[in-house]
């Protein structure tokens, strides 16, 4: 169906959203770009507020040139797109996207919606993770990148993700003391993943460089550890952890940054009725879309919001999804040659990510062995024991995760399960000795993030 003046909306102005907008403009469209942040760039290429003077090299390291290119591209588009920064896209229904800015809701009708909503840290709780001074890796990186401040003076980095080494390195470079980098994955997992990782030599080399640089700086790196507890009364004072096959060790620190990979911000895709499947490689529920970004009639997904691929894959998938969108709108065949080239690059990048997922596995055993008194859902202060009790109760719905939510309140708070959903599912499944993929996922509902009660509708 050819349309004279199609209404095309892009949500997100990170690498995927920017490249999508660029491609749409190139094909004669004027998309509306909606972004929560005050400035474009997304999380990875987040820009500092006006007046901050760190150079792009200091801010983005190896990726400075890419960051500059994304920023330059978007800045060059502002006259030929409609751009609404500081705007939350909080619901989608019947081909209308509901946006909120400064407590005013504006419904936006669309013919095509391209969701490039990015990702957040994938969280796995451990005792003490809610103490002030414990941050996610992504959060601690944003503090450094955006505000130029460190979340601690003497820090421990913990988890299973490439970001673990990168953020530790960035903090060390910025002058923080890195007391330890604790990788929950065994070193053998990395060795096994090497063949897949070699599909992207430059990324692989950067990873090795980061690890070597931490070594040179004298940072202790340990593999195969398990956190026992963060210590401290009202702030972080130290971390206890267990080495493989050995006893407990305690390390002094005033901040812990942790993370276990990324999870897509897929709530809008859910509300737009996209299908979801449990992906065993990435060990989470992912919205289903074709490699070219098509995810339903008039719905396109790109970047980490669709599947975790990293910034380079986000750029490629953003442009690719835009080309699919253009073709579907009937504006001609799009650019077939370009689409084929982009698809080829994307599949190589995705292969690399699958390798990373193997090198940095999700330690499901941590959720299973989490003590009963540890908090899982911090919004509602629900403990692991309460989740287990809820799913083991007769006529409690087994471990179907929405039933577990109904009875234990997990995922009912401000974050709506974006952070506790996966670990609650893991705990529920383990409590009934079932596979996590069989317990389902929390159903999405709008608003996907809080909106003020005094919000007014503007039409």
């Amino acid at each position: 169906m050819a349309m004279d003046d199609p209404r095309v909306v892009v949500v997100g102005a990170g690498p995927a959203g920017v490249r999508a907008a660029e491609a749409l403009v190139k094909h004669g469209l004027r998309p509306l770009v909606i972004d929560e942040a005050p400035l474009s760039g997304g999380q990875i290429y987040r820009r500092p507020p006006p007046g901050f003077r760190r150079t792009t090299k200091e801010l983005y390291g190896f990726e400075a040139a890419k960051a500059e290119a994304i920023h330059r591209t978007f800045d060059g588009l502002t006259d030929v797109i409609d751009y609404r920064p500081r705007t939350l896209a909080w619901n989608v229904q019947d081909r209308v996207l509901y946006t909120a800015c400064d407590d005013v809701v504006t419904p936006v009708s669309f013919d095509a919606l391209l969701l490039a909503t990015g990702a957040t840290d994938r969280v796995l709780p451990f005792p003490g993770w809610t103490l002030p001074g414990v941050y996610t890796l992504g959060g601690s990186q944003v503090a450094l990148k955006h505000q130029g401040c460190a979340v601690g003076r003497r820090m421990v980095f913990l988890g299973s993700t490439p970001l673990l080494y990168l953020v530790a390195y960035q903090y060390a470079r910025a002058g923080a003391e890195v007391a330890a980098v604790l990788d929950t994955a065994p070193f053998s997992a990395k060795v096994r993943a090497v063949p897949k990782l070699l599909s992207n030599t430059s990324m692989f080399v950067k990873g090795l460089y980061t690890m070597a640089a931490l070594h040179r700086l004298g940072v202790a790196i340990e593999h195969g550890v398990r956190p026992v507890a963060v210590e401290g009364d009202d702030a972080v004072a130290g971390l206890r952890y267990r080495r493989r096959g050995e006893g407990e060790v305690r390390i002094d620190c005033d901040a812990v940054a942790f993370g276990f990979g990324l999870r897509p911000e897929s709530q809008l895709a859910d509300l737009a009725d996209c299908d979801f499947r449990f992906d065993p490689v990435f060990h989470q529920w992912l919205p289903q879309c074709a490699d070219d970004g098509r995810a339903g009639e008039g719905i396109y997904l790109a970047g980490d919001g669709a599947r975790i691929g990293g910034a380079d894959a986000a750029e490629v998938s953003g442009e690719l999804a835009a080309l699919s969108l253009i073709e579907d709108l009937g504006g001609g065949p799009g650019d077939k040659a370009r689409s084929v080239e982009l698809s080829r690059r994307l599949s190589s990048l995705v292969r690399f990510q699958a390798g990373l997922a193997g090198a940095f596995p999700w330690p499901a055993d941590m959720a299973r062995s989490l003590p009963d008194n540890a908090i899982v859902c911090r919004c509602e202060r629900v403990t692991a024991g309460e989740v287990r009790q809820a799913v083991q109760r007769p006529l409690g719905g087994g471990c179907e995760i929405n039933r577990a939510k109904a009875f234990s309140r997990i995922g009912m708070g401000r974050c709506q399960g974006r952070f506790c959903g996966l670990s609650s599912a893991e705990i529920s499944a383990a409590a009934q000795d079932r596979d996590i993929s069989s317990v389902g996922r929390l159903r999405g509902a709008g608003p996907v993030k809080p909106i003020k009660l005094a919000t007014v509708l503007d039409e």
Binding site: K452, T455, L457
Partner: protein, 379 residues
């Protein structure tokens, strides 16, 4: 194929079905409950939790009064704490016209032994200073309140099971027949149940049961729009609702303020999903602020819905089938079934055992739809 013979088979494990199962079991009858999903997961579990009698269809008050008596001792009935809070319901007026409606209703309710206290604006603000200045008066029913709907039906189901009921979740009735000897029900997973009495308490799926026995009804699936704020210190004790407005507000003791209203959203009883229309959310937020202006700075953090069933006259069907002896219906509660639920269960139990009940249920007869020939609706 597993075959069970039982006195009563109940199709639908919501509040009506599970409370009937408990009463029947305690009276020594054998009971099988067939629930296609999980007990209390739809209308019974996702509603606002309102135990309100004001503004209820007057001839329904005997049933509602009977339910009040059960709610007040629910913990003893089911053996679990279901967060029943009897803190009163305030139906308020913004003008004299509203006030006249409240007074009229109070006069009618008195005929049914339901006493509503009329409070003036001054009294209201002295007692509940957070109420908007615009409120001129209210009807006050202190014996009404709230309960946690997510907890109530599973608690009934567990109590019924403890009393001997055979409760089967994920058992959808796919074949239903009646011959001289009684009912034969077969589930999708191959369970066969034979019973002399059958109760249809299948909520939004009741149409399939009634139509199967030659009683089609114009039943539609609806989704109540419910929304909740972040928690703040507890200050709203009663449930509050303006005359003529569908918006009702309450606060749970842990702090969240819950707002419900209309219009009801899209509910799909095939895919089992119910959506809250964003415009409903916004409209209900605005209405809530008219009543309690200080809520404006709170964040709305979550909405939910579920699948309820409504009939065109907004009244349920409760009573015997007009085509099939031994079959009794209870469905189509049209968004106000929770409060009367426990009494409906007892009434169904009485009907199943004695074929009659002391509680007047004539207005809810299936006969209202005797001429109906159309289809019920899936979504």
């Amino acid at each position: 194929m597993e075959t069970i013979g039982t006195d009563v088979v109940i199709v639908g494990g919501g509040l009506m079905g599970c409370s009937a199962a408990l009463d029947l079991s305690r009276k020594g009858r054998s009971v099988v409950v067939l629930e296609r999903g999980f007990v209390g997961a739809q209308a019974s579990g996702v509603n606002f939790g309102l135990l309100r009698r004001q503004d209820r269809f007057l001839p329904q008050l005997p049933l509602a009064n009977r339910a009040v008596e059960i709610w007040h001792r629910l913990e003893n009935v089911v053996g679990e704490d279901c967060e029943v809070e009897i803190r009163g319901h305030l139906r308020f007026a913004l003008d004299d016209e509203d006030m006249a409606v409240i007074e009229d209703y109070a006069a009618g309710a008195r005929e049914y032994d339901f006493e509503i206290e009329i409070l003036g604006g001054e009294t209201l603000r002295r007692r509940w200073p957070w109420l908007s200045d615009r409120v001129v008066g209210a009807g006050w029913s202190p014996d009404d309140g709230v309960a946690n709907p997510r907890l109530v039906t599973p608690a009934y189901a567990r109590a019924a099971r403890a009393a001997g009921a055979d409760i089967r979740e994920e058992h959808e009735a796919v074949e239903m027949t009646h011959d001289g000897g009684g009912f034969r029900i077969v589930t999708q997973n191959g369970l066969e149940v034979r019973a002399s009495i059958m109760l249809n308490t299948a909520g939004a799926w009741s149409y399939h049961v009634s139509a199967n026995f030659g009683e089609p009804v114009p039943l539609t699936a609806i989704g109540p729009p419910e929304a909740v704020t972040e928690p703040v210190p507890y200050f709203i004790e009663p449930t509050i609702q303006r005359v003529g407005s569908p918006v009702v507000v309450r606060q749970v003791q842990r702090g969240n303020v819950i707002i419900a209203g209309k219009p009801r959203g899209i509910a799909d009883n095939v895919t089992n999903r119910a959506y809250v229309a964003p415009r409903s959310t916004l409209a209900n937020m605005r209405k809530a602020l008219e009543v309690v202006p200080s809520l404006g700075s709170l964040n709305l953090i979550r909405v939910w819905s579920g699948i309820e069933a409504a009939l065109p006259d907004n009244l349920p069907v409760l009573g015997p089938s007009l085509t099939t002896p031994g079959l009794f219906h209870a469905f189509g509660f049209s968004g106000h079934g929770f409060q009367i639920g426990p009494a409906v269960g007892v009434v169904l139990s009485e009907l199943a055992i004695d074929g009659r009940t002391e509680t007047p249920i004539e207005p809810f007869t299936m006969g209202r739809f005797a001429d109906y020939e159309g289809e019920g609706s899936d979504a």
